[in-house]
Each structure stands twice: as C-alpha cells, then as structure tokens.
Amino acid sequence: MTLSAPIAEPGAGIGYRARPSLRSRIAGGRAGPVLVVLVAVLVLWYAGAVLLNWPTESARLARGNPEVSPAEILTATLSAQRPVLPAPHQIAVEIWNTTVKVSPTAPRSLVYHAGVTLGPTLLGFALGTLLGVALAVGIIHSRTLDKSLMPWVITSQTIPILAIAPMVIVVLNSVGISGLVPKAIISTYLSFFPVTVGMVKGLRSPDAMHLDLMRTYNASGRQTLAKLRAPASLPFLFASMKVAVAAALVGAIVGELPTGAQAGLGARLLAGSYYGQTIQIWSALVAASAMAGVLVWLVGLAETTARRRAGARA
C-alpha cells in the first residue's frame, strides 16, 4: 500500500480519517446511554429473579432430591413454571409465543388483547384531550369558571380511579352500555386532567406585550384565542398530551379489571394473577408499556411535525 504523502511529512494523513470505533459510535450516539441502562436493568433483574425464586425452587427440588446442587437450583430459578419473579428471557419467550406464533385474532394472542385495550385508550385519549382543551378555554375566559371549575378538576383526580372504575362500568352496564365506551370514559376521566392543567398554563403563556398588541388591533377574544393563545400553547398541549395518552392507557386497563372482562391487557393481568401465571402478567405488563411507549412516541412525532410547520428552529 502506498500513501500519497509519506507518513512523517507535512500534509501526511490529510484526507485520511480513522473510522470511528464501534465503542465511540455507541457512546456518542443516542443509543449508548439507553443501552447502558438496559444492561444494568437486566443484570439487576436476573439477580432479583435468582434471589426471589431461590427459596421456593430450592424447597421444591429438595423434596425430590435432598442432595440438590446449587447449580441445579440456579437453573431452576430462571426456568420456573410459576416464578415469583420471572427472568427476562422467560417473558421474552412468552411474548414471542403469544404474538408471532399465534394468529392475531386468537384469544391467546397478546396482539388481540392489546388491540382490545387500544380502542378505548384512543377514544378516551381523544375525548380527554377535547374535554381538557374545552375546559381550559372556558377557565381562561371566565373568572367564574376559573374559580368554580378548577377546584373540581383537581378534586376529580384525588379520587382513586380504582374506586370509580367499577361504578362507571356497573352503572353503564345497567343502562345497556358495555364494551368499549365505559372503558373509554374511564380513560377520558384520567386523561383530561393533564390536558386541562397544561392548557390553562399554555393559553395564559403569551406575554403582556403580545396580548397588548392584540388589544391595539381591537381583536376579539376569539381572534386572540385563535391567533395568539392557541399557537402559543402548542408546546404545552403536546407535553400534556404525552402524559394524557399514557394515563388513557392506564384508564383502559383499569376499566378491564373490575368486571372480569374476557379480553384486553387488563383481563390478561387479572387472569394471570388469578392463576398465579406471573409470566403472563409480566408479558402483559411489557406489552402495555411498549404500547404506551409507542403512543407517546407518536404524540412526539405529531409535535415535531407541528413545530416544523410553525417554523421552529431545526
């Protein structure tokens, strides 16, 4: 191999650049920190699984063979049928078996259950966002609403959702409404709150000078809302929508618990806990958090698009 300039002369090596090492690419990128945390969580998780499953598994194995070796117990703690804490790979296998290996419409399919929960989540999120924005608009335009409504909005969230959910389901069931709508209402109940609080702040965020400007044009309240308050509140709207969409998912899952629903992630959690199927519980939990992650990411995507259109810095 010949170089155009000898190594030791001026100008040598110009135009040649070392390829970034794998390590620096991982550490420098956005994936690096996430990977480090993931590895740490997995290590802790495996340690936890061994520790927590040790007593039951060692007792079980000792019943058949008093001379059981620690290595055998160790293997058993990571492959138990009904572990106290399942190992990550057990959950991974369970998820694989209930998503890829079965038809998405089968009652065993996690995709099917996730779909059942997704419907009310999205409906509840949409209704909650609309309700939240409507309440915020009312609150900032009327002192009376501000004083009368805001305490109730806050009080509404101090009541445990687990106490309200059964009542909503039972009452609506008695008037013949069941399935998606009652769950969506519980989602709405949880998701309107962050939107209301965020939007009250967002709609009040324009500074005095921007508001004075509207006044010099003799703009109506509606024009000020449309041309100043609403666009100024967009960052607040998206931040609160991210909280709201996750809360909506929690609401839909909680809505599936009290009636012993047959389908949905909540039903999977409940059934799993009835029969001690911890692996099933954990795989439903992982599915729920993955779904929440995707939903929050989608809201973030919508935010990026909206910000681009509003001429934000790249």
Partner: protein, 275 residues
C-alpha cells in the same frame, strides 16, 4: 433663539397647521400598589397636531411610556381628559386609529415575517389579495423585501424591529405610537433605523409619537420634544425642534442641533431627573 444660518430657512415639515390628533387636559394617572399609590402622570397638558413627530423624553419612571399607553388605551387615566382624533382613546382604539410599535419587536415566533405583517390585516378582515399587496408594499417600505418567508429568529434584532414597524403600518393608521422602538439595538443599527424612520415619516406623512431616553435620537427625529420628569410624572418643558425636513445623520454635528440637544439636557436637569 438664533438658528444656524445654513439651516434657518427650512420650515418645520408640518402639513399646514393640522387638526388636533391628541389633546390631553390635566391628565393624571395614579397606580395603586401595595405600598401606597404611585403618581405616574400628573397635570399633563399636551396637544399633538396632524403630521407632527413628537418625542417624549425623560428618565425612567417619568411616565413617558405610561402617557403613550394612555393614548393607546392600554392604561386608563384617573384624572383629566384626553381625546385621540376627537374621540376617547377607547373609541379610537376600536376605530383602529393607531399602529403601536413596542420596545421589543413582539413578532409572533410561529409566523413568518409576511404572516406577522399580515396579522392585523387578518384580524381586521382585509381580503387576501389586498393583504398580499399591503404585505409587499410595507415590507418594501422598511427594506425587508425578500424576507417574507423567514421566521423572526432568522432575522437580526434591527430587522425584527423593522418588521414590527411594517406590521404597525400595514393597516395604514394615521397615527404611529412608538415606545422606545430602538432602545434595545446597538448604536450603529439605531442610527440607520433613525434615518430610515425619518424617510418613512416624510413619505407617509403620518403623525408619530415617539418615546425615547436618548437625547440625540429625540433631537434628530422630532419636530417637538416633550421633556418629562418623574415623581410625579409630568411635562416640564416642550421644545420646538426646527431642524427642517432634510436631516442627514451629519446634522448631529451642527451647532443648531447641539443647541437643541443642550436645551433638552437642561430641561431634563431642571426636572431633577438625574440628581
């Protein structure tokens, strides 16, 4: 008062003696605060006629911005009377009698420059084709043609303030109220914009009320200078500034200019503003 010979004959460029645009009589404003009341304005008597360029100058706290805000119906006086175009300030505001330029450009960051200039036109229901025409004309007037699609953060501070002037002019008000519009800019940009503003005033023949704390700026721009002093905010002196219509930047080194500047400084000192 003896004028410098070279400048003496130039008349003050007020188109005939116009009608009263602003007339304040015994105007007063008291702000109630937690630790007692503040006399922001006291016994202000002032008449501004069509086509004048009047500056309010004084130390901070002298009520110059408050007086401008009373004219704009952004503050309510607590004593005396004031009319704008023969109406109450509120009616004048509702009739969209004035364009207001703030200390900061106050452009909406989510709107392009063109759409910022369009903002008052949209609110006033100007049809789209007419909007486009006025955006182009006013951006041209302030020398911002070609920047229509830029967003405010892509422009320098001086350009942003020019855009805000285009916005104030877009609906063609006869009266322009400017609250230290160039206060946040560096001196080179300020000089440039002062010259531009004079040109703009000469072409549009609008009445301008201009708040500043810079003596050279006030003398360079104005046909009359209202000197104010604080505690309570009041007018201590009104100085005619008859430098004529043609005012190149070099005029600031002429004896006549320096003499007026000196009188303004004396007026400010007499008001105990700086002691």
């Amino acid at each position: 008062m003896s004028a410098a010979p070279s400048l003496a004959p130039a008349p003050v460029p007020v188109p005939a003696v116009g009608d009263e645009v602003i007339a304040a009589r015994k105007l007063g404003l008291v702000f109630g605060t937690n630790d007692g009341s503040v006399h922001a304005l006291k016994d202000v008597d002032l008449t501004i006629r069509r086509g004048e360029f009047v500056s309010f100058i004084g130390p901070s706290g002298c009520g110059k911005t408050t007086l401008l805000r009373v004219i704009a119906d952004l503050e309510q006086p607590t004593a005396g009377s004031i009319t704008v175009n023969g109406m109450t300030p509120g009616d004048a505001r509702r009739a969209r009698a004035y364009g207001y330029v703030f200390q900061a450009a106050a452009l909406y960051p989510w709107r392009s420059i063109a759409r910022n200039v369009a903002l008052p036109l949209e609110i006033m229901g100007v049809p789209k084709a007419e909007r486009a025409r006025r955006i182009a004309a006013n951006l041209d007037l302030v020398g911002l043609s070609g920047f229509e699609k830029k967003f405010p953060w892509q422009l320098s501070g001086g350009m942003q303030q020019r855009a805000s002037i285009a916005r104030a002019l877009s609906f063609d008000p006869d009266l322009l109220l400017m609250d230290e519009p160039f206060g946040a800019l560096d001196e080179i940009v300020r000089d440039h914009l002062n010259a531009e503003l004079l040109k703009l005033w000469a072409t549009t023949r609008k009445t301008v009320v201009f708040v500043t704390h810079s003596i050279p700026e006030a003398v360079f721009l104005s046909t009359r200078i209202v000197v104010m002093s604080p505690r309570p905010g009041r007018i201590t002196e009104i100085i005619d500034c008859d430098l004529g219509a043609e005012r190149p930047l070099e005029i600031r080194e002429t004896p006549r200019f320096l003499e007026i500047a000196h009188r303004v400084r004396e007026g400010l000192r007499a008001g105990h503003g700086y002691e």
